[in-house]
C-alpha cells in the first residue's frame, strides 16, 4: 500500500507543483492590479465552494471540461494531440439540437439517450475524421483539428442561422440562436432532487461525466482495446509488430476522443443551454480540456480532481470579479500550470533526474513530422 502511494505521488507531484506555481504567478498578477492576493483567493474559493448553490455552480462548470479533459486524455494515451475537442464539441451541440428537435414527439426515455448518442457520434465522427487523415495521409492532427475547429464553428453558425433557426422551423421571430429543445430532451436539475442547491443550474450531467470517466478508465486499463490504444501511444512500431494496427487505433482513439467531447456538448445542451447560439468564437472547453488532462496525468480518474480544480477556477473567477479583480487571472493561472507541465520546469531546475512523465504519455508524444 505504501509502495502504491509513493508511486502515485511520484506521478502526481509534477501537476501539484505546477498548480502551486500557477497560483503563485496568479497572486503576482493580482498584486499588480493593486489587490490582496489572499483576499482574492478567499473570494475565489468562497465563490466556488462556499455554499451549496455555489458548489452546484462549480459542478456545472466542471461537467463540460471533465468531458473534454477525458477526450484529451484518451488521445494522449494513443500518442495523439487532439486539440480539436472544441470543434467536436460544437458539431455535437448542433447534432443534439437537430435530433432533439426532429425527435420531439418521442418519449423522454428514448429521446434523451438518443440525443446523447447523437452528440457522441457527431463529435466522434468529427474527431475520427482527423484520425483518418492522420492514419491514411500522415497529416498532423494538431493542424487538422485546429482547421476542423473553425470549420465546425462556421457550420454551426450556418446551421443555427438557417436550417435550425427558430424562424425557419417554428415561424417565431428571428433570433441569434437555434430552436429550443423540447422539455423531454432536458436533463434533470439537481435542485429538483436536492432543494438546497438553490439557484444553481447544476444538472445530472455531472453524473454522466463521472460515469464516462469510470468507463474510460475501464476501457483503457482493463480491455484489449485499451491495451492496444496505449501500446500504439507508447511505441507504434512495437504495436504493429505485435499485430496491433496503428491506423485502426488512431482512428478509434480519435473517434472516442471526439465522442467524449461531443457527449460533453450534448450534455451541455440538454442540461444547461437547451439551444445553440451563434458565436463569433469557439467556446474554449477543448483547450481547457488539454490542461485538465495534463494536470490529471492523462488518467481518466486523475482527470476528475483536475476538472474540479479548473471548475473551481472558472466559477470562482466571477466572485473575484465582483471583488474588482479581472477574471482573466484564472486563465493566466491555468496557462501557467500548462507551461510548467510542458517544461516540468521546477523539477528540472531542482535537478531532479527522475522521469516524471513515465506515466503521462502526452509528454512523450515526441516527434511529429508534419
Amino acid at each position: 500500500m505504501k509502495g502504491k502511494l509513493t508511486y502515485i505521488w511520484s506521478v502526481t507531484r509534477l501537476p501539484v507543483v505546477a498548480v502551486a506555481f500557477g497560483f503563485i504567478v496568479g497572486a503576482l498578477c493580482i498584486a499588480v492590479t493593486g489587490n490582496n492576493p489572499l483576499v482574492a483567493y478567499m473570494a475565489l474559493f468562497k465563490g466556488s465552494l462556499g455554499s451549496m448553490p455555489s458548489i452546484g455552480e462549480t459542478m456545472y462548470k466542471v461537467t463540460p471540461i471533465l468531458f473534454t479533459g477525458l477526450a484529451a486524455a484518451i488521445s494522449f494515451r494513443c500518442g495523439l494531440f487532439n486539440i480539436g475537442a472544441e470543434g467536436q464539441y460544437v458539431v455535437a451541440t448542433v447534432a443534439t439540437v437537430a435530433v432533439a428537435w426532429f425527435g420531439q414527439e418521442l418519449p423522454r426515455l428514448i429521446l434523451l439517450p438518443l440525443i446523447l448518442i447523437a452528440g457522441f457520434c457527431a463529435g466522434g465522427i468529427w474527431g475520427g475524421f482527423a484520425g483518418l487523415l492522420k492514419a491514411k495521409r500522415g497529416i498532423n492532427e494538431v493542424i487538422s483539428t485546429i482547421m476542423l475547429n473553425w470549420i465546425a464553428l462556421y457550420i454551426a453558425n450556418y446551421m443555427v442561422r438557417v436550417p435550425l433557426s427558430t424562424n425557419v422551423l417554428a415561424g417565431l421571430p428571428r433570433a441569434g440562436h437555434s430552436v429550443i429543445i423540447p422539455d423531454a430532451a432536458k436533463l434533470t436539475k439537481l435542485k429538483e432532487l436536492v432543494s438546497s442547491f438553490g439557484y444553481s443550474s447544476a444538472h445530472t450531467g455531472i453524473f454522466i461525466a463521472l460515469a464516462a470517466a469510470v468507463v474510460m478508465w475501464y476501457i483503457l486499463f482493463k480491455t484489449t482495446t485499451g491495451y492496444e490504444i496505449r501500446t500504439v501511444g507508447l511505441n507504434a512500431s512495437a504495436a504493429e509488430y505485435g499485430g496491433i494496427s496503428k491506423a485502426k487505433n488512431t482512428v478509434l482513439a480519435m473517434f472516442l476522443s471526439g465522442g467524449l467531447a461531443g457527449l460533453g456538448g450534448a450534455v451541455q445542451i440538454t442540461g444547461l443551454v437547451f439551444m445553440v447560439n451563434q458565436s463569433p468564437a469557439l467556446p474554449g472547453y477543448g483547450f481547457t480540456g488539454l490542461s485538465v488532462a495534463l494536470v490529471g496525468c492523462s488518467h481518466p480518474l486523475g482527470v476528475i480532481p483536475s476538472a474540479l480544480l479548473f471548475g473551481i477556477l472558472e466559477n470562482g473567477s466571477r466572485q473575484m470579479q465582483l471583488a474588482g479583480i479581472p477574471s482573466e487571472i484564472t486563465s493566466i493561472i491555468s496557462g501557467v500550470i500548462l507551461v510548467f507541465i510542458a517544461g516540468s520546469l521546477i523539477l528540472k531546475l531542482a535537478g531532479d533526474k527522475l522521469k516524471f512523465f513515465g506515466k503521462n504519455p502526452a509528454v512523450d508524444t515526441g516527434k511529429e513530422g508534419a
Binding site: 480491455t223 482495446t225 507508447l234 512500431s237 512495437a238 504493429e240 509488430y241
Partner: protein, 509 residues
C-alpha cells in the same frame, strides 16, 4: 616511434557503475592501436573522454608529452584528435563537401564559399588517396563511401590522431580490406589510429598493438604480432570461450516457409528485395548472411506483414500470407525476434507483464470478449520470467530498465511461448555479451531440435557458421546463392556477400 598520446589513470564513475577504473593507455605516432573488449567494457567511454564528450572523474591526458584538458569536441579537434563514429555523424541530405567543411566553413564575405570548400575537399582526398565526389549527397552513396567521408572529415580538420569506433561493423569483407589499405596509407603519412572493435580477426589483420579492456579495467597491452585470437578472446572475456555450439545431426522435414519471387520496396520506394525465393523446413536453421543494409530488414518485415509486398508470394505452413497483416502472420504460426529490439520488440515504458503478452494479448486465456484477465496475465509474466531466467527485481518494472541481454530474453520468452512453427530471428545477438549470446544460441538450436523452422538473419559469419544448416547469401536485395553449411567457408561467404555469385565461389575454393 614516439609516443604521441598518453591517457593516465582515467576513472569515470556513473551512478552505480564504474565505467572506467584507473585505465592507462599510450599511443605511438604512426601506429594502429586496437582497443578491444566486450560491450560495456568501457572502450567507447574512454574514447568519448578523449574526444571531449565526457569528462573523467580522475586521471590525466598527455598529448606530445604535455598535459591537456579536453572539454568539448571542438577542443579535441583543435588538438588534432578526430573521431569516426560508429553511427556516422553525417547529415544525410547534405553533400559530401558540406558535411566535410561543416563547423569550419571557408567564407567569402558573408557567404559560404562552396567552391573553395570543394577544392579543399578534393585536395585532402587526393593527398590521402580517398576518392570521393564532393557534390554527391550522403543519402545517395554507399556505407563504405560514407565512412570514407567521415575519415576525410576528420583529416580535413587536421586530425593527427584518428579514433575509429567499430569501423568494420557495416562493411563488406572487400570494403574491410579497402579500409585496411586506407589505414596503412594514413599511418605512412604519420597519422596515429585508435580502432575500437570487438572483432578479433580484424584486430589481427589491421593493428600494430592491442589494448584489452574488461569491465572498465585494462587487462593488458600486447603486440599484435605476438598474440593469437584465442589469447585475445580469453583476455577479453576472462575465461575460455567456446562459441561454437554442438549441433545434433538432423534431417529437415516439410517446408514451413516458402518465399517465391518476393519483391519489396523500401521507404524511399526503391526496390530493396528483388525477386527473392527460398524455403525453410522443419528442423532446420536457414541463415540469411549478408552485410547490413542489403535488404534483410525489408525481407523480414515483408514476411511478417510489417511492410507491404510489391510482388511474389509468401506461404507459411501451406497458408498464403502474402501481404497479410502482422496479426494474421502471427496467428499462422510465426515468432519474430526483431532486429531492433528496443524500437520494435518492446514497449520500453511498459511493465514486463504487459510486454510479455504483446502479440497474443487478445487471446484466451489472457483476454475473453475484449476483457483482459489481469490475474492470468500476471501469472504468465511470473512464469516466463522464471523459465527464461530474466534478471529483474519484479515483473512490474519497465522493460527499459533491464539490460540488453535481459531485454532480449523478454522477447525470446514471449516469442517462444507462442510455440511458433517458424521462428524468425533477426540479428538476435547484436550488442549482447558473451553469456547472453550463448543463451540465445542455445535457444535457437533447441527450437530447431524440436523440429521447428528457424530463419536466422545475422551479420556475424561466426554465428551463421555455428548455427545454420543452410546459408542463403543476400546482396543488393538478391539471394546470390544458397549453400549447405558443410560446404560454406568464410572466404566463400565473404565473396558472395560482396556480390560474387555462387559460380564465382567455385574458382576460389
Amino acid at each position: 616511434m614516439d609516443t604521441i598520446l598518453e591517457m593516465h589513470n582515467i576513472t569515470k564513475v556513473y551512478p552505480g557503475v564504474t565505467a572506467l577504473d584507473n585505465v592507462s593507455i599510450s599511443i605511438k605516432k604512426g601506429e594502429v592501436h586496437a582497443l578491444i573488449g566486450e560491450n560495456g567494457a568501457g572502450k567507447t567511454t574512454l574514447m568519448n573522454i578523449l574526444y571531449g564528450l565526457y569528462q573523467p572523474d580522475a586521471g590525466r591526458i598527455l598529448l606530445n608529452g604535455k598535459p591537456v584538458s579536453i572539454n568539448s569536441p571542438r577542443e579535441a579537434i583543435a588538438l588534432g584528435i578526430g573521431m569516426v563514429h560508429q553511427h556516422f555523424m553525417l547529415v544525410e541530405n547534405f553533400t559530401v563537401a558540406e558535411n566535410i567543411v561543416l563547423g569550419h566553413e571557408p567564407r567569402k564575405g558573408l557567404t559560404l564559399d562552396m567552391e573553395a570548400a570543394k577544392a579543399s575537399v578534393r585536395e585532402v582526398s587526393d593527398r590521402f588517396g580517398l576518392e570521393v565526389d564532393p557534390d554527391a549527397r550522403i543519402e545517395d552513396i554507399s556505407v563504405g563511401l560514407s565512412q570514407r567521408v567521415e575519415i576525410l572529415k576528420a583529416l580535413h580538420k587536421g586530425a593527427e590522431i584518428l579514433i575509429l569506433d567499430e569501423p568494420t561493423a557495416v562493411l563488406t569483407p572487400q570494403e574491410i580490406d579497402d579500409l585496411g589499405e586506407i589505414l596503412q596509407n594514413l599511418t605512412k603519412e604519420g597519422k596515429s589510429i585508435i580502432m575500437i572493435t570487438h572483432k578479433l580477426k580484424e584486430v589481427l589483420g589491421m593493428s600494430d598493438r592491442v589494448t584489452i579492456l574488461r569491465r572498465g579495467k585494462v587487462v593488458g597491452t600486447v603486440q599484435t604480432s605476438e598474440t593469437t585470437a584465442d589469447e585475445l578472446a580469453e583476455m577479453m572475456v576472462g575465461r575460455e570461450v567456446n562459441l561454437s555450439s554442438d549441433k545434433a545431426e538432423k534431417t529437415a522435414g516439410e517446408v514451413i516457409l516458402s518465399v517465391e519471387h518476393l519483391t519489396v520496396k523500401d521507404h524511399r520506394n526503391l526496390p530493396a528485395v528483388k525477386d527473392v525465393s527460398f524455403e525453410v523446413r522443419q528442423g532446420e536453421i536457414l541463415a540469411i548472411a549478408g552485410v547490413d543494409g542489403n535488404g534483410q530488414k525489408e525481407l523480414v518485415e515483408a514476411i511478417t506483414g510489417l511492410m507491404p509486398t510489391e510482388s511474389g508470394k509468401v506461404t507459411l505452413c501451406g497458408k498464403d500470407i502474402t501481404g497479410a497483416n502482422p496479426r494474421t502472420v502471427i496467428e499462422a504460426g510465426t515468432g519474430h525476434i526483431p532486429q531492433d529490439r528496443q524500437k520494435r520488440g518492446l514497449i520500453l515504458q511498459s511493465s514486463l507483464t504487459e510486454n510479455l503478452i504483446l502479440g497474443y494479448h487478445y487471446r484466451p486465456p489472457f483476454a475473453k470478449n475484449g476483457r483482459m484477465d489481469q490475474v492470468k496475465i500476471a501469472e504468465h509474466g511470473k512464469e516466463l520470467i522464471q523459465e527464461f531466467d530474466i534478471r529483474t527485481p519484479n515483473q512490474e518494472v519497465s522493460a527499459g530498465s533491464l539490460s540488453g541481454g535481459n531485454q532480449q530474453k523478454v522477447i525470446i520468452a514471449r516469442e517462444f511461448y507462442k510455440d511458433p512453427s517458424l521462428l524468425i530471428a533477426a540479428q538476435p545477438t547484436r550488442g549482447l555479451d558473451v553469456g547472453a549470446i550463448e543463451f540465445v544460441h542455445m535457444r535457437l538450436l533447441e527450437q530447431r531440435d524440436n523440429n521447428k523452422a528457424v530463419l536466422l538473419v545475422s551479420l556475424e559469419l561466426d554465428e551463421i557458421m555455428n548455427l545454420a544448416d543452410r546459408i542463403a547469401v543476400i546482396y543488393h536485395g538478391q539471394i546470390v546463392g544458397v549453400l549447405d553449411a558443410a560446404q560454406a567457408t568464410e572466404r566463400k561467404l565473404g565473396l558472395m556477400m560482396a556480390g560474387g555469385t555462387s559460380e564465382d565461389k567455385g574458382d576460389v575454393s
